[in-house]
């Protein structure tokens, strides 16, 4: 399986492994399914059937000018998950993908077996990094990116061209940043209604850590794991991240 239509948009979807169903969601902007495909997904796929997809507008999924709000992205996931499995699924989300997973679980409690929230920001609009990012010049933007991305960008050539083009699209032609800023918080009272086992994994140096502490406090069956690193734990703490997720899903 590679390209499927959901919510009137074409999504790039891949599956790995056999076993209980798991869906993994990446973060916004520079993210794609590659951020899981080359990190935790192969290990999880030894014991699970893993579905990875590129969020709307990202990776090889179709570009979309609109629909980056949590509700629309949850409905994308609902459609994809329904086609993937009728069994309760486990969800693993990074950053905004974690918030989409969390909101999916709140809306569809019977559909979710276990939930892993990696570096999900709350409120989702609490993206000081994004707002600051938006006001930077193009070269400053490049300088503030993770090292690997930055190196690719400064080398110039094909990757830099693609990256600049995707940045231009998201900033100037899509509602992504407006949708992000309009996203409302999830109140503690709502978080308290979530009853699936939930693992929150956050970076010790990340500005999102307070969100993880709050979710772990408010969700009844949640635990918090703090790993040494920042927001991009797949890069900063790849091995312990994969180990934590695998142990939780297999436990």
């Amino acid at each position: 399986m590679s390209f499927r239509d959901h919510n009137n948009l074409t999504f790039h979807i891949q599956e790995l492994g056999e076993g209980p169903p798991v869906v993994m969601l990446h973060g916004l902007f520079g993210g794609s399914m590659a951020s899981w495909y080359f990190t935790s997904a192969p290990t999880i796929a030894r014991t699970h059937r893993v579905l990875l997809y590129d969020l709307r507008g990202h990776g090889k999924s179709a570009r979309s000018r609109t629909g980056y709000d949590v509700a629309t992205m949850v409905s994308d996931l609902e459609s994809i998950a329904a086609e993937f499995s009728t069994r309760p699924i486990s969800l693993v989300g990074h950053s905004y993908g974690a918030i989409v997973s969390l909101e999916f679980a709140l809306r569809n409690p019977s559909r979710v077996h276990k939930l892993v929230i990696v570096e999900g920001p709350l409120p989702p609009s609490q993206v000081k990094e994004f707002d600051a990012f938006r006001s930077l010049s193009l070269s400053e933007k490049a300088a503030s990116l993770p090292k690997a991305v930055r190196e690719a960008f400064t080398r110039g050539g094909r990757q830099a061209e693609r990256f600049a083009e995707s940045m231009r699209f998201f900033l100037r032609e899509s509602s992504l940043f407006d949708d992000l800023r309009a996203a409302s918080d999830i109140a503690d009272e709502r978080l308290a209604t979530l009853h699936c086992p939930t693992l929150c994994i956050y970076g010790s140096n990340s500005s999102c850590l307070p969100a993880g502490e709050r979710i772990a406090r408010a969700v009844p069956r949640a635990e918090l794991v703090v790993l040494a690193g920042g927001h991009f734990l797949q890069v900063d703490a790849g091995e312990p991240l994969t180990a934590s997720i695998t142990e939780f899903l297999n436990g």
Binding site: S32, A34, F38, R46, A152, R155, R158
Partner: protein, 100 residues
């Protein structure tokens, strides 16, 4: 009936798959050999590497456990891969199946 599996045939097949992933306009200019780096020479984006992995799966089937191979690697190693390392891996999978 089987095609002979040699470094040359695997490299040719892998090169075709890479060209399919990165698109004609770039692929035509870049010579692809055993020493070609995915990141530095081909500037393969990570999502294109996913596409390549899927094409390898479709081409070589279960015999080449690409995902399992990647699971044993650090992200940095994956980004620094050369085409030759991938070709050698595919060859090693074939020799394992023929000797067992």
């Amino acid at each position: 009936m089987t095609t002979e599996v040699t470094t040359e045939t695997v490299l040719a097949r892998v090169s075709d798959l890479i060209r399919e992933c990165i698109g004609e306009e770039w692929a035509l200019d870049v010579p692809i050999g055993m020493d070609t780096s995915f990141a530095n020479d081909l500037e393969l984006e990570s999502i294109e590497f996913v596409a390549l992995a899927e094409k390898l799966k479709a081409t070589y089937g279960r015999r080449v456990d690409f995902a399992g191979w990647l699971a044993g690697m650090e992200l940095k190693e994956i980004l620094n891969l050369r085409v030759g390392v991938l070709v050698e891996f595919i060859l090693s999978c074939h020799s394992e199946t023929t000797t067992t």
